[in-house]
């Protein structure tokens, strides 16, 4: 019992007092005492959480395009004063195609009888100011002396009359001894007016047109058509006291097809033009007053208004919806930073993993076996070392462009290319390390105790190479991420729509973006800087921690 007590008691120099630490634990203890390394670890952990967890939490995907509605001054309607005769034809009549020009010439010269291209003889009856009825004519021999209807027509300044039988005649050279007389049959009506129904589904009959035109041209207050009486109130024609149609000498065209420009709008617009205003208000369908701007260009009026338009939300400043704003393609930058971080970090780790794998095997074989194997492998390493990387990247980038490689293929290819070029450094380190370890006495002791080659490599050599490898790899990670960013920046690496930090920075190609939209490229640049710095801190920390000369 007493003996046991003695054993349990600890003396000052009892080695039991010291906590047993494996070399790994000691490295860890030394490592966590390095402040910079801890800062590095925190940054890297943050980057990982940001990229891999943040990407899951973020509601947006990396290639989701965002739209916004914007008030944009857009053309709503155009208006031109009518300078051509608008012709309404009697039902079932087809007038020749040059009727417009012929009418215009006839009306302006006063030679109301003319022949069209197809040889038919037509004439205009001036029923009112700038309102003409188009007749098809047939010359008749008729003496007009003492014809009351003729005299009345001449007195009224008209060039047609209707006889007692209801037949209409057109005459020319009135006042002459023998004016030429034509038997006329009505074909249509021409006027520089346009009609707009208040009810957009309404179709006007010819009789209505004719009646309305004649009435408005002659200042009549009412007319009859199709057995209905219409009242005329300036430009507006009322049917049963309700607004039925609008007559105007201005032609309106909607800027967008499918938009019906109401007569009320036209009325308001015409009033504004007449009053010389540059803007006017008019309620829209919901009754909200909207301001319209009138622009006059050589008698052509354009009515513009601010309209809600769906546009891609490019270069949106940071806001509640997009914490870091959006980029040139209207994609959420925060989401792209997250997904880009995934790519950048993933490429870093994958490349380093492949590099370490190749480098350890080649360097290990060269170092352990030595001789001609070492010589051969190291010459291969020298050759790979001599390959100029940038031109190679450029060539491979353009090859991938040529074959239109997909975003994923590009990522894989990028990893492979960078690893295939980068393993040589690790191979050299491993070889050097193994060469020096091979001569250590504990390796000779292992051989002397008859331990198998396999065990000597994996139990004695590799564990002693691993520290240097870890240090080199953690430093190399930063380099790989930088290289990837460089390639993506140059457009050789990750391509749109896939994101990487390098490709996000690519936006600074546009100097306007560089100086005006800092939020587009600054975060990605900062992330690259922080990550590379953090990996270097960790690498330094690990190197110091592994250094056996540093006492705990």
């Amino acid at each position: 019992m007493a003996n046991e007590n003695n054993e349990n008691k600890m003396a000052l120099d009892d080695a039991n007092r010291v906590k047993v630490l494996s070399p790994g634990m000691m490295v860890f203890k030394r490592f966590i005492r390095n402040k910079l390394a801890i800062v590095g670890i925190i940054i890297i952990v943050f980057m990982f959480l940001f990229s891999f967890v943040g990407g899951l939490l973020n509601p947006y995907s990396q290639s989701q395009v965002f739209y916004t509605t914007e008030q944009i001054l857009k053309d709503y309607a155009g208006a031109t004063s009518i300078d051509q005769y608008q012709i309404q034809q009697v039902d079932g009549v087809k007038l020749p195609s040059d009727i417009f020009s012929k009418t215009l010439i006839a009306a302006s010269t006063g030679k109301y009888v003319f022949e069209t291209r197809d040889g038919s003889l037509l004439g205009l009856g001036n029923v009112g100011e700038n309102v003409y009825v188009i007749y098809s004519l047939e010359e008749v021999n008729m003496l007009l002396k003492k014809n009351a209807a003729y005299d009345a027509a001449v007195a009224a300044g008209e060039n047609y009359f209707t006889d007692d039988d209801g037949l209409t005649y057109l005459f020319q050279d009135e006042g002459a001894a023998f004016p030429t007389v034509y038997a006329a049959s009505e074909m249509g009506v021409a006027a520089m007016k346009s009609f707009t129904p208040y009810d957009s589904s309404e179709k006007f009959s010819y009789e209505f047109y004719r009646g309305a035109l004649v009435a408005s041209a002659n200042g009549e207050k009412s007319f009859q058509a199709d057995g209905t009486t219409y009242t005329v109130d300036e430009d507006v024609i009322l049917k049963d006291g309700a607004e039925y149609a609008l007559i105007s000498d201005v032609n309106f065209n909607a800027a967008n097809s499918g938009v019906f420009i109401s007569p009320a709008y036209k009325d308001a617009a015409l009033d504004a033009i007449a009053a010389g205003q540059t803007t006017f208000m008019f309620p829209d369908e919901d009754g909200t007053e909207i301001e319209y701007r009138i622009e006059n260009k050589n008698g052509q009026y354009t009515f513009r208004r601010y309209q809600e338009t769906r546009v891609i939300d490019t270069y949106a400043h940071p806001s509640k919806d997009h914490w870091v704003g959006t980029d040139a393609n209207g994609m959420d930058l925060l989401a792209r930073l997250m997904y880009g971080g995934r790519i950048s970090l993933l490429i870093g780790f994958v490349v380093i993993f492949i590099e370490v794998f190749i480098g350890m095997i080649i360097g290990g074989v060269a170092g352990f076996f030595g001789g001609w194997v070492d010589n051969l492998l190291m010459r291969i390493v020298d050759v790979v070392y001599c390959i100029p990387t940038m031109p190679l990247y450029l060539i491979l980038g353009s090859i991938m462009d040529y074959y239109q490689a997909s975003a994923t293929t590009r990522i894989y290819m990028l990893c492979v290319i960078m690893a295939v070029i980068g393993w040589v450094g690790i191979a050299r380190i491993v070889r050097g390390q193994i060469l020096s370890l091979r001569e250590q006495e504990f390796m000779v002791a292992a051989e002397a105790t008859g331990i198998s080659t396999y065990r000597r490599i994996f139990k004695h050599l590799i564990p002693n190479v691993v520290p240097q490898l870890i240090v080199f790899a953690s430093m190399g990670l930063g380099d790989v991420i930088l290289a990837e960013a460089t390639l993506s920046f140059l457009g050789l690496g990750i391509k749109y729509p896939a994101a990487s930090w390098g490709s996000i920075i690519n936006a600074v190609n546009d100097s306007y973006v560089m100086s005006n939209y800092l939020f587009v490229w600054l975060p990605a640049g900062l992330f690259i800087l922080l990550t590379v710095l953090a990996f270097n801190f960790i690498g330094d920390g690990l190197r110091d921690a592994f250094d056996p000369k540093m006492k705990r």
Binding site: N16, Q440, F442, V444, A445, A448, G450, P463, P548
Partner: protein, 336 residues
């Protein structure tokens, strides 16, 4: 104590058979050079060395740095391939063994290194360092493994709780104990001690030497004790071999050699042993010049460039070993 062992050993050497016999052992290292990397010369690290060790005795191998002591030790263990000669261990020529037989031999012959710091893998715990080879050779059943390792460690002055510790947590003396435990765990018959105490301070040296002697008594071990420290060699050895530039210039019983060194080099060497008594007047023989390059050794007797008793013959003809009685062999023209 010392005399006791010596008498014991003397008895052994009279009756026991040779555990190891070295005949005309040569180890040349090629010097590569020139444009095509051809062999341009040879470093004659061990040049025609013959000796034998009787079972249960200790042979001390002394000489200055670079004289080929360690190379001899390592060549015997086949850690280096010999150039010529025979290494006969227990009646078996070591150099003809194939891989499988060599593996078996590894358990019979062991080595303890000079530097206890670099001879332990820093990333393995002590238990594993000691037990690794035991497992590899399946020397003990798995059920007894732990006890076996514990016993070995205790024998070598280590505690059981040291098993899980790593080399960096031990002092030099403790590390050397670990190295000894590692070697002894394989139950060897013959151990090459390659300057096992020269990296330790004097008090620890004594501990280790006594441990080695204790273990020799307990297990009937045979040592080849390589050292440049003559007082240590005198203390532990039954026989002594003095090496100079790859040659064995003098061999014999420890007492004979210390009482009556014959070879001029041995004399010079022994005159350098510090005496604890200041009243003793010493005739220190100072050797002139440096040890010549083993790549280009002098003609005739290799020592003639520094020998105070050099004769004309020495410069031309290499001397042959001459038995001066009681196994005291010297290699010098003075005794012909």
């Amino acid at each position: 104590m010392s005399t006791e062992v010596n008498t014991n050993a003397a008895g052994n050497s009279a009756s026991g058979e040779n555990i190891l016999e070295i005949r005309n052992l040569k180890k040349y290292f090629p010097i590569k050079g020139g444009f095509f990397g051809g062999v341009t010369g040879q470093v004659k690290a061990v040049d025609d060395v013959s000796f034998s060790i009787k079972k249960g005795t200790t042979m001390g191998l002394v000489g200055e740095s670079g004289c080929g002591k360690s190379t001899t030790g390592r060549t015997i263990l086949r850690l280096l391939e010999k150039t010529e000669g025979d290494i006969i261990f227990n009646g078996q020529d070591v150099s003809t063994l194939n891989k499988k037989q060599l593996r078996e031999l590894r358990t019979k012959m062991q080595i303890i290194f000079q530097d206890p710091y670099s001879s332990l893998s820093p990333r393995l715990p002590i238990g594993e360092i000691i037990g690794e080879a035991v497992k590899e050779h399946k020397l003990v059943p798995d059920s007894e493994y732990d006890d076996y390792i514990t016993n070995i460690m205790k024998e070598c002055g280590l505690q059981e709780y040291h098993k899980d510790r790593y080399p960096h947590e031990f002092s030099g003396g403790q590390r050397q104990r670990i190295c000894i435990a590692r070697a002894l765990a394989l139950k060897p018959e013959f151990v090459v001690c390659d300057e096992p105490v020269s990296a330790l301070d004097v008090s620890i040296q004594a501990q280790i030497i006594n441990l080695l002697k204790q273990l020799q008594e307990d297990r009937g071990l045979t040592y080849l004790f390589i050292s440049h420290d003559l007082s240590v060699v005198e203390h532990i050895s039954d026989t002594i071999g003095v090496m100079y530039l790859g040659n064995l210039v003098e061999t014999g019983n420890t007492e004979d050699i210390f009482a009556n060194p014959l070879h001029p080099y041995t004399k010079a060497l022994f005159s350098a042993i510090p005496m604890p008594d200041p009243d003793i007047k010493k005739d220190r023989i100072l050797l002139q010049g440096d040890i010549p390059s083993p790549a280009n050794p002098p003609k005739g007797c290799k020592f003639h460039t520094r020998c105070s008793q050099c004769m004309g013959k020495c410069k031309e003809v290499a001397p042959t070993p001459k038995d001066m009685g009681n196994g005291h062999v010297v290699c010098c023209h003075l005794y012909e």
